[in-house]
Symmetry: C2
Subunit: 325 residues, 2 copies
């Protein structure tokens, strides 16, 4: 593979000169510039980004660590992050912990080894705390990490409130919240919090059930849902902490002979594609995924350039009414 040296030799100049036309730096005559481009073309030269990175002591790479790629929410996030990064000339290295907390530290170390410009982290165990000494910017999304560079979240509590309000407005009397995995600063906590507050304020009966970590990993909530919905016969409104869970609520309702929205009204969370492809389509709390992704990328890049970035960014959510309520 041709190198700068080869190009320089080809057109009788030095590597410095060639490097300068490549980077558009310093004084270069038009004639020289043309000669260099011709030589590059001829030799099919492609700059070696690895060498460049070593020399500049930084890469154009952002490490992205997610707990699941298959989960539609993360797929959507990754897609938007890749897009935002690409626009800024960055590429992304993708790591999938698949819920294995021990992998997380390992992946963070790999990011360090690869000298990424920064890291966007969607998952977090205790091990991360050790990492935050590093000089690499670490932006978390929907997670909080002590000493992290920045955190981007959507207003989960507001989301829970909106969902509860909407269900109540639609005439529901007995509500169920199917929460995600709780604890560890998971976003589901705040969603439930907002939901509970509104229920209490309105004197509405409610119940909360949580998923197990194993379920989060397998993405299968049927058994739990059948239990929760089968037991209490009088639930007439469900707030699921993700659209994926909501879609399964739909199936379980059908299995139990309950119609949505006639017998049970349903609100999901995330507003990812599946909320649109179910039957009926699911009313849900819209997360500004695109904006969150952009914000995360912007902050990683800014921080890697030494700029200061806000410690915490909270973006508003909104209700998207479809046919499940």
């Amino acid at each position: 593979m041709a190198t700068l040296k080869d190009v320089a030799a080809e057109c009788g100049l030095t590597v410095t000169t060639v490097s300068r036309v490549l980077n558009n730096r310093g004084y270069i005559s038009d004639e020289t510039r043309a000669k260099v481009f011709a030589a590059m073309e001829k030799l099919n030269y492609t700059p070696n980004e690895v060498a460049r990175s070593l020399s500049k002591k930084t890469t154009n790479t952002i490490g992205v660590i997610v707990p699941h790629i298959r989960h539609p929410y993360f797929a959507e996030m990754i897609s938007n992050i890749e897009n935002a990064a690409s626009k800024k000339g960055y590429k992304i290295i993708l790591y999938n912990t698949k819920g294995r907390n021990n992998k997380e530290k390992e992946y963070l170390d790999m990011c360090t080894s690869n000298r990424v410009a920064g890291i966007i982290l969607f998952s977090s165990s205790i091990a991360v705390q050790e990492f935050t000494d590093s000089k690499i910017p670490l932006v978390t999304v929907e997670r909080f990490v002590e000493n992290g560079t920045a955190a981007v979240e959507c207003d989960n509590k507001q989301g829970g409130e909106l969902a509860a309000k909407h269900l109540i407005e639609q005439g529901c009397k007995r509500l169920l919240n199917v929460s995600g995995v709780k604890g560890n600063s998971m976003p589901a906590d705040d969603r439930t919090l907002g939901f509970e507050e509104i229920c209490k304020k309105n004197g509405i009966y409610y119940k909360v059930v949580e998923t197990e970590i194993g379920q989060y990993n397998s993405l299968d909530y049927h058994e739990m849902l059948e239990g929760a919905l089968g037991l209490d016969d009088e639930i007439d409104g469900v707030f699921a902490s993700s659209d994926l869970i909501a879609s399964q609520v739909l199936q379980v309702c059908s299995k139990l002979g309950k119609r949505v929205p006639e017998d049970i009204k349903l609100v999901g969370f995330d507003d990812v594609m599946i909320s649109q492809i179910t039957n009926p389509p699911i009313s849900t709390i819209h997360q500004p995924i695109k904006e969150m992704a952009s914000a995360a990328v912007d902050m990683v890049v800014a921080a890697s350039e030494g700029k200061t970035v806000p410690k915490r960014t909270l973006l508003p959510v909104s209700l998207v009414k479809r046919e499940s309520t």
Copy 2:
């Protein structure tokens, strides 16, 4: 950030020696080894993979280029590729063309610049042909590229056959195939081919409708489906070339007042998560996604090590019966 040199200085040795304990190469006394590890620990040393890559003239990175991350099929693929790669000590850089063919060449060039060990390509326009001169292994999945290193496919034709056979066995008389985007060596072509063959052989009436490229990008097939299903009142079996399309068939049927599977039976393709979360869950053709992903990674790695790999790998599909037939 600490370097080998720092570690060497710390324990009064040379970088060569330190490098050797790091790579477990050559003769090293236990005493020295211990000293080196202690120094690394003390300085919080992390090897610089960038420098290592430059020196070794290759990286542990695989470039993955997909047309969509949000599409569940690709999300699933990416997940499995990341997994297989990680097991072999490779990481992946993810590029999303979003159907923009011009991006493809650009991303391939970026892969070259970053000196990836190999590329896994899920999308392909004419521009790729130019690329195949490069020495970088290029493995395509569900696409064929002249001069590519290798191609991994599932038996799409067999899938079309299985779907048609199954629908016919279930008593369908008038079939519709909702194909994906056609042409350009797209997998949908062969699926339709197999489908048609079986229909002809059995003397069954059938129709084929294709999606537009724009639809493939927006992932929204409603309008087309309403047209196709509304027009011909007597369709009683549908073979959709993806589960995503199938899920929308389900919605359109519901809108048109047709019950699945009573009035219309439906078979999808891919066997991705959504086929399980719809109501009813969709009978579908299972693609061995995990095996395909592993095969692609294995071949990229093997080819990058100079081994010869099979030009074409065809994996079998199978029917998964759920509740839509």
